[in-house]
Each structure stands twice: as structure tokens, then as C-alpha cells.
């Protein structure tokens, strides 16, 4: 339903009120006419003005009595008729009105109209989130905490109600609608100049594909982040240039492959992208022995591919293993892994690790519990499908738990809020693991194992006005080290470090030295404590803080003091 159909629903509602309204008009007309004809006590009929006045208060059952004059008997007889006529008229009209307000399609039209108005009134950047499941919820909450707006489209009515229950700091407009319809997306602000990105997070790959296509055609300049669980849909999305396709299983398989061949880089990635406020433990690295994969679905397939790339032997347990055609390097065991017999047939006692990757949470738990009984040293990777079971998964304490909704949410947030992070991680992949190890050693030595704040800063007039003015005014060289000092005491360095610097003309530096001078237009990826982020923002925005940080001189504040200072300087 687009705007026009909503309007026409309102018209339809008006059409349904036609009959009651005409009845009311006729009743009023007859009543007023009668009163203005029938002679009163003085022989003169009432004027139209008085008749309308009298009918107005009688018909609405206010009833003052016989005002403006005492009535004659014929007038009383007529008024008697009028009273009953009016009651019938109003009862009919109000009944029709209330039944209309109860009507489902009408209410939907009204709520859609209200939603559209709320979106059109948004004059700040917002993200369009399609699907308010576990992932959508995580993303909305995180965006809200970062002070960013979101607009939600969701098909399930009870989840639509949930948006209002999860008290967010800002109002989040939400509409019960199918995001795969382009006009619904338009209604939700796709194509609006304030829309910063589209996130297709529904659990239906086809719907996500539809959103990706709409976003590509209707708003090609904004990023679209799309969840895709099957490889075909992901390939389809990629074929028309969707920029960010997030397949949680592939992402995890990537991580796992990285953990197998570059454990330090994997730890660094974990530390940088973990959920804010959590502590990343340096857990044991996945061993390179024989692995068992239980469940050969979408996730299992991707994992086996990842193991193949790392040349790790894999045994597959599945209820219905596909015929061993091109993949006959793997041993296949038929069965469902929850019983000891099947696991023993897969040689669990010689295995180094096991992945429970079926779509059923209870099966997965049952598999790994049996497996640990049989082989306590096993490295366990557990897939969690539903967040409602998270207590059980926490109690089991697997070496790694795969939560698809969390992987997607983290990836979305990283892409949206710190676009440079992705490029840094790409860079890290190119380097050797020892380099990542040294970097990790240094950063965690300085900031601890708590997940740090990771953010990017663009040195432009808009984001760093003070620095911009200063660099333009007297063009001195300012180095990174000079900039990263506390605006409260410049002898203290800020608890932050630059990980990646990106300069115009595709120059980029990974982990730049503090002596590197900054230029206008540079984009920095920083890692550090939360307080350092606010402090740096102050330095970049406030000309006084910047002057203090760079030179140690306290600039005078206020117009008068500035004048006096200038006068003194010129006098000297």
C-alpha cells in the first residue's frame, strides 16, 4: 500500500459515512423547517436562526428547555417528533463511525499514514531496518545507544508491538508491512535524503533479496546491508552490486579459517569487533587435528569448505548425508550424532574438535554433551539458533558459540559506524600473523582485554572544525602524537591509538607512527577508551581546547577577552 492507496482508504471511509451524514442533514433540515413554519404562542413562527439554535441543542440532547420562548402546543408536538428523529440520526451516525474506527483495514490505513508522516518529519540521519527479529533488535538497540535513529518494517504484528515495549531513547517509527514491496520501502523513507542505509535483516532470503534489489534501484548511493543464508541468494545479490552481503555462516567459517592459520589476527579481530562492554578472554586456539561436523546443512557445508581450505580432515555426521560425489575426501557417517554410538563410529576419541551445526538447539547441546563425555579434550563449536536458549549455552561453556543473529548485528554495526574498520581488517589479513601478534600484544597491554571503543574520525570542516581552521590559518604541521593528548592536561597522552590512516589519493598507513603529520581530509580509525573518544572530539571541535593541546597556551574565551588579547598582542 502506498500513500495513494492509504488516501483512498480514507476516502473509502468517508464514502461509508455518506448515508449516516445525509440522514443527519435531512433530519436537521426537516426539524428546522417544521419549527420555522409552525406558529408559536404569539402566533408568529420561530425564525430560522432560533429554530436552528433550538434544534442544535435539542438534537444533541443538551436540552435547556423551551428557549428562546415558551412553545405553543403545535410546536411541542413537532419538537417531540424532532427529538426522536435526532436521537435515531445520531445513534446511526455514531454507530457507523465507531464501526469504521474498529475496522481493521481502516486502522491499518491510519497507522500507515501516521508512520509515513513520522518518517517524513525525520530531519536527521536514519537507518531503515527491515525485519525486527533477534538481529534487528540488536541492531536497533545498538544504533539507539549510539544516538542514531532507525525506522523499522516488520511483518509480524506482535514484533511490531515489541518495538514500543523495548524502551528506546528515541522514538522509532515502525510499520507492520512487507519489506519486499518497494512502495512500502519508499513509505519507510527509502530514497529520502536522510536515509543513511538499508539493512535487510529478515529471516527470509527472498525478502532480503527483494529489499536489496529495491535499494539498488531506488537509492543506489546509500549502502545496503543484506543478510543471506544461502549461497545462491548471496551470489544473486552480488550480481547486481549489493555492497554488503552478510552470510553469518560464511563469516564464521572465515573466522574459523583465520583462527586455524592466524590465531593472533583472529584474537585481534575478536577484540576489536566484540560487543561493547564485554571482556574478550584469550581462549585456546582451535587445534589442527581431525574434526567432526554434525549436520551438513547450509552452515555445515560452509564450514567443511573452510576446513578444506586449511587442509584439515573432516568427518561429516548427518541423518541423510548427500551421496559422496565430488566431496569423497570426507568420511561420512549416517546418524544424528546425539547418541554415543554414532559419535564412536566417527572416531570421536581421535578427534581434535567437533562442530554441532544442526538447526535444532537441543540436538546441538545433546551432541556436544555426549561428545565431551567421550572425549573431554575436544574443542567444541556450538551453533545457537535461538537466543531464548542462551542460558543453556552459557552453562555449557563451549570453546566457541556461533550466534548468527549476533554475527550479523556486529557486522552491520561495524560497517555502518566504522567503515574504515573493514579496510583495516582486510589489511590485517594480508600481513603475517606475527605482526598481528605484536600489535595485539601492544594494544591489550595498554588497554586491557575489555573490548575497546573503535571509531573513525574524518578531518573535515564539518567533523573537525577547530583543526580545520587552525590548519588553514597558519598551516603548521600537526602530528598525530600532538593531537592525541588530553585536553585537561596536555602532558597526559590520550588513551587512544590510531590503527589506520586513509588519505586522499588512496594513500593509507596501517598503525601510523605518532610523528606522522595529519592533513585535511584524512580519515582515521582509532581504538581506545570511551573517555578518549569524547576528549578527542572536544579537541577537534573546540578551538580553545585545540590550542591548549597543541601549544599549552590558554586562549581567552568570550568576545571581549579575545579583543583585549588581540589588542595586547598588537601593542607589544
Amino acid at each position: 500500500m502506498n500513500r495513494n492507496t492509504h488516501l483512498s482508504t480514507l476516502f473509502l471511509a468517508m464514502r461509508r459515512l455518506r448515508a449516516p451524514l445525509i440522514t443527519l442533514i435531512v433530519i436537521y433540515g426537516i426539524s428546522v423547517l417544521g419549527l420555522s413554519i409552525i406558529p408559536g404562542a404569539d402566533g408568529q413562527p420561530m425564525s430560522f436562526f432560533h429554530a436552528f439554535y433550538f434544534i442544535s441543542y435539542t438534537a444533541t440532547t443538551i436540552g435547556f428547555g423551551e428557549i428562546p420562548g415558551t412553545f405553543s402546543e403545535p410546536q411541542r408536538l413537532w419538537v417531540l417528533i424532532c427529538i426522536y428523529l435526532a436521537v435515531v440520526g445520531w445513534a446511526y451516525t455514531l454507530g457507523a463511525l465507531f464501526s469504521l474506527l474498529q475496522d481493521g483495514t481502516f486502522r491499518e490505513a491510519v497507522s500507515a499514514e501516521r508512520f509515513g508522516r513520522a518518517v517524513r518529519r525525520l530531519h536527521e540521519p536514519f537507518y531503515l531496518v527491515c525485519g525486527y527479529g533477534e538481529t534487528g533488535r540488536r541492531v536497533c538497540r545498538a544504533l539507539d545507544q549510539m544516538g542514531l535513529r532507525s525506522v523499522v518494517l516488520e511483518t509480524a504484528p506482535q514484533r511490531v508491538g515489541e518495538v514500543d515495549l523495548h524502551n528506546y531513547l528515541a522514538d522509532i517509527p515502525v510499520l507492520r508491512a512487507d519489506a519486499s514491496h518497494p512502495d512500502q520501502l519508499r513509505q519507510a523513507g527509502l530514497g529520502s535524503p536522510h536515509c543513511q542505509g538499508v539493512l535487510a535483516l529478515t529471516n527470509d532470503d527472498r525478502a532480503n533479496l527483494a529489499v536489496a534489489i529495491s535499494a539498488r534501484l531506488l537509492a543506489p548511493q546509500i549502502p545496503a546491508l543484506c543478510r543471506a543464508e544461502s549461497a545462491e541468494v548471496a551470489a544473486n545479490m552480488a550480481s547486481f552490486g549489493t555492497r554488503h552481503i552478510i552470510n553469518p555462516y560464511e563469516k564464521f567459517a572465515d573466522y574459523l579459517a583465520q583462527a586455524l592459520h592466524a590465531p593472533n589476527a583472529y584474537h585481534l579481530l575478536n577484540w576489536l569487533t566484540g560487543p561493547p562492554g564485554t571482556c574478550v578472554e584469550r581462549h585456546r586456539d582451535p587445534p589442527r587435528g581431525k574434526w567432526i561436523v554434525c549436520g551438513y546443512g547450509d552452515f555445515g557445508r560452509v564450514l567443511v569448505d573452510a576446513f578444506d581450505q586449511e587442509d584439515v580432515p573432516v568427518t561429516i555426521i548427518d541423518r541423510d548425508p548427500a551421496e559422496p560425489g565430488e566431496h569423497d575426501r570426507h568420511r561420512r557417517v549416517r546418524g544424528d550424532g546425539t547418541g554415543a554410538a554414532v559419535l564412536e563410529r566417527a572416531n570421536i576419541d581421535q578427534a581434535a574438535g567437533i562442530v554441532a551445526s544442526t538447526g535444532d538447539d537441543m540436538d546441538n547441546l545433546s551432541i556436544v554433551m555426549t561428545a565431551r563425555e567421550l572425549n573431554p579434550d575436544l574443542f567444541v563449536i556450538l551453533r545457537m539458533n535461538h537466543f531464548t536458549n542462551h542460558e543453556l549455552f552459557e552453562a555449557f561453556a563451549a570453546d566457541a558459540t556461533v550466534v548468527p543473529s549476533q554475527i550479523i548485528a556486529n557486522e552491520c554495526l561495524a560497517v555502518l559506524t566504522t567503515p574504515l574498520l573493514e579496510r583495516f581488517l582486510e589489511e590485517m589479513r594480508q600481513r603475517d600473523d606475527a605482526w598481528a601478534g605484536r600489535l595485539l600484544e601492544r594494544l591489550t597491554g595498554r588497554f586491557g582485554w575489555m573490548v575497546p571503543s573503535v571509531w573513525s574520525v574524518r578531518l573535515t570542516e564539518r567533523d573537525a572544525p577547530a583543526l580545520h581552521t587552525r590548519l588553514q590559518r597558519d598551516a603548521p604541521t600537526i602530528t598525530l602524537g600532538e593531537l592525541l593528548r588530553s585536553p585537561h592536561d596536555r602532558n597526559d597522552p590520550l588513551d587512544a591509538e590510531v590503527l589506520y590512516l586513509c588519505r586522499e589519493g588512496s594513500v593509507h598507513v596501517t598503525a601510523p607512527a605518532p610523528t606522522l603529520p595529519v592533513c585535511l581530509g584524512d580519515e582515521l580509525l582509532l581504538v581506545g577508551r570511551r573517555s578518549a573518544r569524547a576528549a578527542l572530539a572536544l579537541t577537534l571541535e573546540n578551538i580553545h581546547s585545540l590550542a591548549y593541546v597543541l601549544t599549552g597556551a590558554e586562549l581567552p574565551g568570550g568576545l571581549i577577552w579575545e579583543r583585549i588579547a588581540r589588542w595586547r598582542q598588537s601593542g607589544r
Binding site: L7, F11, L17, I22, I25
Partner: protein, 127 residues
Amino acid sequence: MNLEKVIFGFFIVLAATLNFGFFVGDLDNPAHHDIYELFAAIVVNFIATVLKFGDRTQIGAVHLSTSLVADLQLIAAALVWGYGVHIAGVGMSPDITAKVVSLSGGAMLANVVSIVILISETIMQRR
């Protein structure tokens, strides 16, 4: 033949004819302008307006707007009349009569536009 169209056309034309009946005569002579005719014109105009509710075509929208204009003019005429007789107490003086009648003349123009639209719509329909 469509009963809805008959009723629709009936009220639109009736609104215009009643309006015209009130309007004709000397501008400032109250004897030429019957107050009951004004009342009837107002009621019929209201009904015609409600009948135009809910038509989602472009022509329907124009119909509704012309009808609303006529309503507005007629209500203004009734208010002026009520003001002259009951509040100012001068009765139907030539001055007041002229005001009422000229307002109803404006309403009539809107009604004529309505009728023109109705006729052109009918002619355009080749059925």
C-alpha cells in the same frame, strides 16, 4: 441507468436550481428573495457535498471542492442574514439583503461549475 448517478445528478442540479431561485430578483429587495429557498438550498447543498465524499477520481475531487465552496458561501449568507435580523436588529434592510444575495450568487457560480463538470463528464463517457 445507474441509480447512484441519478441521485447524484438530481442533488447537484437541485442545489443549483434552488440557489438560482433564491438569487434571481433585485439585489437589494427582500421581497424577491425567499428565506425558505435559501434554507432549502443550504440543506440540498450539504447533501450534494456528502454525496461527493469518497470519489477518488480527479473529477470527483474537483466536484467535492466546488461543492465545498458553495457550502461556504451559503453558510456565510445565512450568517449575514442571522446577523442582520437577530444581532444588529436592522431586519432585512437593502444593505443586508444585497450582501446575502451576492454571497448566494457566488455559491451559484460554484454550483454552475459543478454542473458543467457533471455535463462534461457525462459527455466524455461513451457508453
